[in-house]
């Protein structure tokens, strides 16, 4: 039946069906599609080394993500905080889950831990940025979701309260990712100490206005009762070692005074964590990440890019279509400017080189001139010397000639007198 437009706007009238239409099958279609597509989940674990993070991950997913051959980051000493991710594909009942575990070895281990949260923040932001870029692309067929959906923060079981490092970290990350604080190695606390500790932590969390991920009430009554009874933060014990207790095989930790069972609700809150994280609230975590944290990031990022000023939470259609284009324009202009700058820079460099070369040539020319002058001077000096010698020689020669002439004259005179004498002699 076709509705009249006014009533359609005013209220959505409920109609009873007179036969089986079949759209009750919609959830099944969604289910089949999701199963085919597979699920993705990214879990980040943060905490000081030695708090049992790797063991807990192994216990949660019942596999040895960190085994003896591939030891976890905790066994290696790190100098700086690193962010390491490992991807695992797990299958169960036909449903496949791509699980990404992000570990932060080195967090809080150094003597000076200022800004040890920075690599973590950078990682989370970079994943959001990847998603933002993927979303803004033209072809969005394959959009891998690598955003961090949940961050488990491990609190050391001191029994007193939060450390300054814990407070700082959670304050900085509570608006970027779902933070779930956990009390690590909870088998160190007696039940009374545990209660006190939890109360103290929650008090401090409220004091510092940290927003942790609160598991929302589900429709299932039993679950919500359980949630209300067990207070946050959850006190967990991890183990993947199977021990026999009273004929039953359980996972736990063997002490000389007893066995602390991991899956026993009275011993620790591990089962609560596992149920909430995997069985009931995984989708909710992803939704909150997508709707709240990612949107916060996105609006912050885009408000910084466009010149609309301030943080704009209301997104109209125009803004959504303009900003990517504007961003592309911006990028193009930037690129052109960069090119121009490079060009001018290269020209400058070229000029400089030319000048240098010219200078060099001038220098060598001057050098050559100088040498030429020098050689000329040498030559002249030699010439003068030779002239001197020649003159000397000439003088000697003329002297010698003069002498010769005199001698000749004498000789002539002598011969003349001899002739005279001869003539005279003949007369005798």
């Amino acid at each position: 039946m076709i509705e009249r437009p006014e009533s359609a706007v005013a209220s959505i009238a409920q109609r009873n069906l007179e036969g089986y239409v079949g759209f009750a099958n919609l959830p099944n279609q969604v289910y089949r599609k999701s199963v085919k597509r597979g699920f993705e989940f990214t879990l980040m674990v943060v905490g000081e080394s030695g708090l049992g993070k790797s063991t807990l991950i192994n216990s949660l997913f019942l596999t040895d993500l960190y085994s003896k051959d591939y030891p976890g980051p905790s066994l290696r000493i790190k100098k700086t905080v690193q962010v390491e991710q490992s991807k695992v594909l797990v299958k169960e009942g036909g449903v496949q889950l791509t699980l990404t575990i992000v570990d932060t070895p080195g967090f809080g281990d150094a003597v000076d831990n200022s800004n040890c949260w920075q690599p973590v923040i950078n990682y989370i932001d970079s994943k959001c940025e990847d998603f933002l870029n993927a979303e803004s692309r033209v072809n969005r067929r394959l959009m891998p979701d690598n955003r961090v959906h949940c961050c488990l923060y491990f609190i050391a079981p001191s029994g007193h309260g939060l450390k300054p490092l814990d407070v700082e970290f959670m304050k900085r990350l509570h608006d970027k990712v779902n933070v779930i604080p956990l009390i690590a190695k909870a088998d160190t606390l007696t039940p009374e100490e545990c209660q006190l500790f939890k109360k103290q932590i929650m008090k401090e969390i409220q004091e510092h206005k940290i927003q942790i991920y609160e598991f929302p009430d589900t429709e299932d009554d039993e679950d919500s009762k359980l949630i209300r009874k067990i207070k946050m933060p959850l006190a967990v014990v991890g183990s993947n070692v199977v021990i026999e207790v009273n004929g039953k095989k359980v996972r736990g930790r063997q002490y000389p005074w007893g066995v602390a069972e991991v899956e026993n609700g009275e011993h620790c809150d591990f089962t609560v964590l596992r149920n909430m994280l995997i069985r009931t609230h995984m989708q909710d975590l992803k939704d909150v990440t997508n709707n709240v944290h990612y949107e916060n990031y996105r609006s912050r990022k885009l408000a910084a890019v466009t010149c609309n000023g301030g943080v704009d939470t209301s997104k109209t259609k125009n803004q959504m279509t303009r900003s990517p284009l504007a961003q592309m324009e911006e990028e193009r202009r930037e690129h052109v400017m960069k090119m121009k700058k490079m060009e001018t820079e290269m020209e400058q460099v070229f000029e400089m080189k030319v000048k240098e070369k010219k200078q060099k040539l001038k220098d060598s020319e001057a050098e050559l001139e100088r040498r030429h002058e020098q050689m000329k001077k040498n030559l002249e000096a030699q010439y003068k010397e030779l002239e001197e010698k020649k003159r000397h020689h000439e003088e000697e020669k003329s002297n010698w000639e003069a002498q010769q002439r005199i001698l000749e004259q004498q000789k002539l005179e002598a011969s003349k007198t001899m002739e005279k004498n001869k003539k005279k002699g003949k007369i005798f």
Partner: protein, 372 residues
């Protein structure tokens, strides 16, 4: 303050480990008559070869009982590692800072503070003045650079104070000893290896004071994890050249070395502290009660608290004090006196040309007798 009236539960297994320890005057559980000498000569007034030199032990005992003992322990570690609880457990009375201070203070102070609290405790006629020096704020901040400096300054100040008293012209017959005899360093039970902060602190302080490292809250580690952790810590200490108590170089003879080797194989002790009593098998014992079992503090199958207590109090207390006064303090003293008399021709440190030298040699002997 509080009198230590409770009978100390002596674990029979303890006798096996350190039975080689010769009875000395510091063994508080010794019966109140002189031990027979180990040499062949038997005691008894009618024996020709008996001179009676061994009766000096009895005289020393009586003098020591009259004078009383002093012990200064410093506890260092991050907050929440059970330091105060362990102190209370060690001395079976509320000696920690938290038990004494009634007003609630700020939990983590902005700078490291040194809080020293003294108690007079007594057992079987032997009086002891115990001073517990607490260091709240150590290692709790985000930036822990140089957090060891206030502690080193405090220790050196105590040495300085003693030195000033010693070189006084008119000095007291018995100089009050406020030097730190032993520093217990609490290592958090991560199960992996020593942290950079631990290494920094211990390498600096092992040169000025006796360090006894302990693994705090050891009920978090299973036995295999505990052994692995200890091994890693020992390797870490060796690799960084950190000499913790008992130091190898100060072993006096082979007996000492044997005993100390056994101890050295067990350090650091994995301890659990508790000041609450629970009923276990009909006996009231100190422990921690969890849903899966009760941890008995003095049961050596559970944790090594008994070994630590015996080391610190029953067998090696005098040795710790001796090493502090004859080695650590002497190092400080030599350095200090060299500083104040800077010789231009660079004489070796042992020959100090100053009017105090004669006093110095005599003072060394004086110091040892003071410790009795």
């Amino acid at each position: 303050m509080a009198a230590c009236g409770a009978e100390m539960h002596i674990n029979p297994e303890m006798e096996v480990l350190w039975s080689e320890v010769k009875p000395s005057h510091s063994n508080m559980s010794a019966p109140p008559h002189p031990q027979p000498p180990t040499k062949g000569a038997s005691h008894g007034a009618g024996d020709f070869s008996y001179v009676g030199i061994d009766a000096i032990l009895e005289q020393m005992r009586r003098k020591a009982m009259k004078q009383g003992f002093e012990l200064n322990i410093m506890i260092v570690g991050q907050s929440g590692l059970g330091k105060s609880t362990l102190m209370n457990t060690l001395f079976k009375s509320k000696v920690s800072r938290k038990s004494v201070v009634s007003t609630p203070e700020e939990r983590i102070p902005k700078t490291i503070e040194i809080k020293s609290i003294s108690h007079d405790i007594e057992e079987k006629g032997v009086r002891m003045k115990l001073t517990v020096i607490d260091t709240p704020g150590f290692g709790d901040h985000i930036n822990n650079e140089n957090c060891w400096q206030p502690i080193m300054k405090f220790i050196n100040d105590q040495y300085e104070q003693y030195l000033q008293e010693e070189i006084n012209i008119n000095r007291k017959k018995r100089i009050p000893d406020s030097r730190v005899h032993c520093c217990m360093y609490f290592i958090p039970p991560t199960g992996h290896c020593l942290r950079p902060l631990d290494v920094e602190f211990m390498s600096r302080l092992s040169k000025v004071v006796n360090i006894v490292p302990v693994i705090a809250k050891a009920d978090t580690l299973t036995l295999e994890e505990r052994d692995f952790f200890k091994q890693t810590i020992r390797e870490g200490l060796r690799a960084n050249g950190i000499d913790v108590y008992p130091q190898e170089e100060f072993d006096e003879d082979s007996d000492d070395r044997m005993i100390n080797d056994k101890i050295r194989e067990m350090i650091p002790f994995a301890v659990v502290g508790s000041d609450q009593e629970y009923q276990v098998n009909g006996k009231r014992l100190l422990g921690r009660k969890t849903k899966w079992g009760t941890i008995e503090v003095e049961n050596i199958a559970h944790c090594e608290f008994a070994y630590l207590r015996d080391l610190l109090i029953r067998t090696h207390m005098q040795n710790i004090k001796d090493i502090t006064s004859s080695i650590h303090y002497e190092v400080y003293r030599v350095r200090r006196l060299n500083e104040t008399n800077a010789q231009p021709n660079g004489q070796p440190p042992n020959t100090l040309v100053n009017p105090q030298q004669a006093n110095g040699v005599a003072a060394q002997h004086q110091v040892l007798t003071h410790e009795m």
